[in-house]
Symmetry: C2
Subunit: 432 residues, 2 copies
């Protein structure tokens, strides 16, 4: 079922084409999103109510759920489900807590002291999708690092379900995160509300979270025209599996399908040193696909995917680095040797017993990751995404004496006399 290529037969152009993602610029929806943004900017809460009626078929009075409502909803899920969410929360918390580090102070010259201080981004907005799939895991993946960073205000938006509420899983995650409100707005309107603020929804400094093409387009527009920043550009989800002779075809097929069920535009790539393994994976795909509730979606994604057969695992890794996958699974006994060679990827799953889905939910790593090749220059979401690092410097008299003439010379050669003056006027006082 997977189109299969022999690596040695691929030209440089072929490889460029295979590593290029299906990037639909979505210009078709631009006008709609522009209108929604303008509507929310101008009419605030009224616009959000109208848009909830139009897109979510729900008439809202209050635009948010309060603590008591969240508490009640959270109580509707089973203890087993609560426990699973708690374990995920704990693991994500443990891993992300390692990311907040103390910065070192350094004297670059005697009396010239420099350091950085970490400060939380004060107000952050988390968008939690709630259309075809409701994703409480995403709330944990964004909420936990925001809490560890110490953000003062965490605004959460999610589209209202048919009953005008959110589901119990989302509510339970809010409880775990000690977030006492959730705003009932979805799509481009939620992004606009957090970017401009409305009577109900506070304006934030940075917006996080995945979403459909309307959400993605709105985030991109907001980024280019306001001072609100976004976590990262988003595209369809993807996995690349590197597998050698030691790999299990059934496991690989299961991992490819876990990716494929996300959406018809997902991509699942297999790069293997064994052509017989690729064949076995194709057979396993056929078998496993038949049993999936989301088989139609997964089938389309698999048609959009491919396998590459390479002569050795180093070549497989080189291709993976060119592709820069969101998720990379290395199913090889030899995974330890390969870690160092991973240059471009979002999150990496090592060995035969580490399926991507453990990272999607509960191993502790973040699942908000760069897609579409952005792993070449972006990291996934982490505590880093919720803080700024501010540089500080302080000069003693000795420090200014040490560095003064250097700054004067450099300011002068750049033709910036006032920059020089700011040093000279102080130096003169020291000398007198």
């Amino acid at each position: 079922m997977l189109k299969t290529y022999q690596y040695e037969q691929l030209s440089a152009q072929d490889i460029d084409r295979l590593t290029l993602r299906n990037t639909d610029p979505n210009n078709a929806i631009q006008d709609t999103v522009e209108q929604i943004i303008a509507q929310v900017e101008q009419n605030g809460d009224d616009a959000l109510r109208q848009l909830a009626l139009k897109y979510d078929q729900i008439s809202l009075d209050a635009l948010y759920l309060d603590e008591a409502e969240i508490e009640a909803l959270a109580a509707t899920i089973s203890r087993q489900q609560q426990r699973a969410l708690e374990i995920a929360f704990q693991n994500i918390h443990k891993f992300h807590a390692t990311q907040l580090k103390k910065e070192r102070t350094i004297e670059t010259m005697p009396g010239v002291t420099c350091w950085r201080e970490v400060r939380p981004i004060e107000k952050v907005g988390l968008y939690i999708p709630g259309g075809s799939a409701v994703l409480p895991s995403t709330l944990l993946m964004l909420g936990v690092p925001a809490r560890i960073a110490g953000c003062k205000e965490i605004v959460v938006c999610s589209p209202p379900q048919k009953d005008g509420k959110v589901n119990g899983f989302i509510a339970y995650c809010l409880k775990l995160l000690q977030i006492k409100k959730i705003y009932l707005t979805g799509g481009a309107q939620a992004v606009a509300a957090m970017a401009y603020g409305t009577e109900s929804v506070p304006r934030v400094d940075k917006i996080f979270g995945p979403g459909n093409q309307f959400v993605t387009k709105a985030k991109s527009l907001i980024q280019s025209r306001t001072q609100v920043s976004i976590d990262m550009p988003a595209g369809p989800s993807e996995v690349l599996v590197i597998a050698d002779e030691s790999a299990n075809a059934d496991y690989i097929a299961a991992d490819l399908l876990a990716q494929a069920e996300h959406g018809a535009d997902s991509q699942a790539v297999l790069v293997s040193t064994s052509s017989s393994l690729i064949e076995a994976v194709n057979q396993a795909l056929l078998l496993q696909l038949g049993e999936l509730p989301r088989a139609a979606i997964a089938q389309k994604a698999i048609e959009n995917s491919y396998a590459i057969c390479t002569t050795d695992i180093t070549t497989a890794l080189a291709f993976s680095n060119k592709y820069a996958p969101e998720h990379l699974i290395i199913q090889s006994d030899d995974w330890k040797r390969l870690v160092y060679g991973v240059q471009n990827a979002g999150s990496v799953f090592l060995g035969h017993l580490t399926p991507e889905s453990v990272g999607d939910y509960a191993s502790g790593t973040n699942h908000t990751l760069p897609t579409s090749g952005y792993a070449r220059s972006y990291s996934g979401v982490s505590v880093d995404s919720f803080v700024k690092k501010i540089t500080f410097q302080q000069l003693s008299q000795d420090g200014l004496r040490q560095i003064g003439s250097t700054v004067e010379i450099l300011a002068e050669l750049e033709g910036l006399q006032a920059h020089k003056n700011a040093v000279s006027i102080r130096l003169k006082d020291l000398e007198s």
Copy 2:
């Protein structure tokens, strides 16, 4: 000369207006920039040559200077100037070297091991402006962290000077950075060349550097339509000075003017607890302004600036955090107490003897900083800007047994059966 406001008399709207930057969307230049980008994407080097003729009035054969040419140019500057650039290089290197940190490995559950690994962004592009002012300091500020990060390819673009070369200061910095080529292209065309690649200029993964409005617009367009990322959005430079009774009016005036000489759109804000100090600063501004070669520019920037008088320094700091200045100077004997309260700023200069210009050139901190209020969510450029952090995870048999059911439950409640299967199929083998 500075318009002065009494803080207590300002309404919330006034404060919003005062903290809002003069953000010109520059839609007027959008068409020009679009055309330049399209031209470079389609015609590569030919387009760069045509645009150099049009905008830099120079006919270029080779589009870059090689190592020998750089060497020759670097030898044309004085030993004193070389030494000043070396000291700046060393201090910037010392400070930025502290930013590369080892990440911790953690077992979130027995047998579930997670960690991050830092990898350089492979190919980075540095834009060094060369119009009204040539800025070798910017080359150091971008080149040093790129080298420390370990980027494999560092592409530097700067517009050709009248002689078809770059000046000796830039050349000497290239030497210090061991960069053996510089591409002679400026403006939007340089950004497009690094984003799409031409016959001469390599395509990069991330583009850094300040520039005029054409450069800024090109970076913004590139970010929204390619997989190439950028350092941060850019606006006019700015400083905010917090000063109490202990401050020296002459020093403050010199610092405000150092900012003002950057451009007529620069902003220099003074927030002080002393109205007599504000008055003294105004007098000092008049005196110092007269002697500046760039007085006309500075004068305009000062007209675009203001002072605020507050009753106490805590209120001054609160206003500064709302403004989120690129540069914050705290001229107070009491600076130590105020460090913790700084929430939003790019780089901070503490005490009476730490003018901004030391950080612009040589203290060691970076001068590529968030403007226009972006300091609320962005950090300045650092080694972090040149690396990605990739998450890794590896499960032992015990690890999968520990976490398996949690993942199964969570996948099921999100309706993602194939995610569950990827775990179940492995667990089944462990049990048998």
